[in-house]
Symmetry: C2
Subunit: 210 residues, 2 copies
DNA sequence: CCCCTTGCTGACAGCACTGTCAGCAATTTA
DNA sequence: TAAATTGCTGACAGTGCTGTCAGCAAGGGG
């Protein structure tokens, strides 16, 4: 009856102390993403992780601690991915931005980041600490990277000084829009990522190029 | 002790059949926005509306019906505001877009629309009907309006055919980004709406102008 | 002034979910 | 193989919430 390898005396459970946390966090991410914090049920998370409900409390103090662990893990994944730095010394600003955007679109549309964004938007008001952590750990670095690229572009005369070069968020806004649009309306109306990203870069480069 | 006008025999409640629904919906919007559907409590909504919990069930069948009424009301408000049509026959495409964007930013950053967006993002996965209604009632019209403006701009030779003119979402993406950014990070980092909108228009016009 | 209609409420039942705990059984050690 | 360790579970208590209902009282009609 159990899904075990061996026939015969099937054990009711296996002891797998070091695999549990990740499996629980993964199941929890899905549940929190779909139902939100309040709507999530520890029972469903346990089921998803293939474990009893009480086990969750062996690894996480309570529901909120598990939630924070999920968010933390998603953020860690984000910064880890972003650590693949964009090398831009040898390239034009356009080439650099193209590479950055490509990487950024891939990251933004990953299911993990979608979940993280949804969680931030949904639970932000009741968990300001989470918002602050995201802001400090992720947004700040992203903005600084962008500012460096822009500064270099201006210095080299490849970009013109304009309102947009003073508000780096303007440059990546369409990518975030795309991610959220896909997340919310993906089932109803699929935007072509390739075409969207290409149009995005096109409009940006024409808009800020010298 | 009651907050009534007259002293003396203060009535415990007043009968106000025709004011109740709006007051309940208003209180519910706030609660749903802050806590999400699952986290919202009918007791808190009742308190916010200055009414007993049982009264909610006189006007709305259950929590979900109240939630849908809230969403419906927010959407109605949205389309009503948008009905102030942008007259663009006599103006250049840039002037038209400028007027449209100004109106759009005002709408997007209103607390009502912020709440609607948060609700859509949070509860969308478990309430696909809501997403579809928003998509049909609001997004479709907005996109068509934009497409008409773009078509006229191309016709007049004020815009150049480019990827962005084929994906109208690209044009308004920064405004939606701004709304969500303000909603989530408004307390930590305030973007200047005026400057952002100006930069947005600047970059767009340079990007798609002929 | 008194009665009738009905908007509104307090109290009740039922449910789902969180967090806990004694004890079972999978695995390790001797 | 037998004993010790400990990862894991089923069952329990407690809580907060939704939806219901008999009845009170505000306001209108006679």
């Amino acid at each position: 009856m159990t899904t075990d390898i061996a026939h015969g005396d099937a054990p009711a459970y296996r002891r797998r102390k070091d695999h549990r946390p990740d499996e629980i966090v993964a199941a929890a991410l899905e549940e929190f993403n779909f139902r939100g914090f309040a709507g999530a049920s520890m029972a469903r998370i346990a089921k998803g992780a293939g474990v009893s409900r009480a086990t969750l409390y062996l690894y996480f103090e309570n529901k909120e601690a598990l939630f924070l662990a999920v968010a933390e893990a998603a953020m860690a994944g984000f910064t880890r991915d972003a650590a693949r730095k964009v090398e831009f010394d040898d390239h034009t600003t356009e080439e650099t931005l193209r590479a950055l955007f490509r990487q950024f679109y891939a990251m933004m549309t990953s299911t993990k980041n979608s979940a993280l964004m949804r969680i931030l938007i949904s639970e932000g008001p009741s968990m300001p600490g989470l918002v602050q952590a995201y802001h400090e750990q992720i947004l700040r670095n992203g903005r600084q990277l962008l500012e460096r690229i822009i500064a270099r572009g201006l210095e080299r005369g490849e970009l013109r000084p304009c309102p947009a070069t003073r508000i780096p968020q303007l440059l990546i806004a369409p990518a975030m829009f795309f991610a959220i649009h896909s997340m919310v309306f993906g089932e109803l109306e699929t935007l072509d990522e390739e075409a969207f990203a290409e149009g995005h870069l096109d409009i940006i480069m024409r808009g800020i190029a010298a």
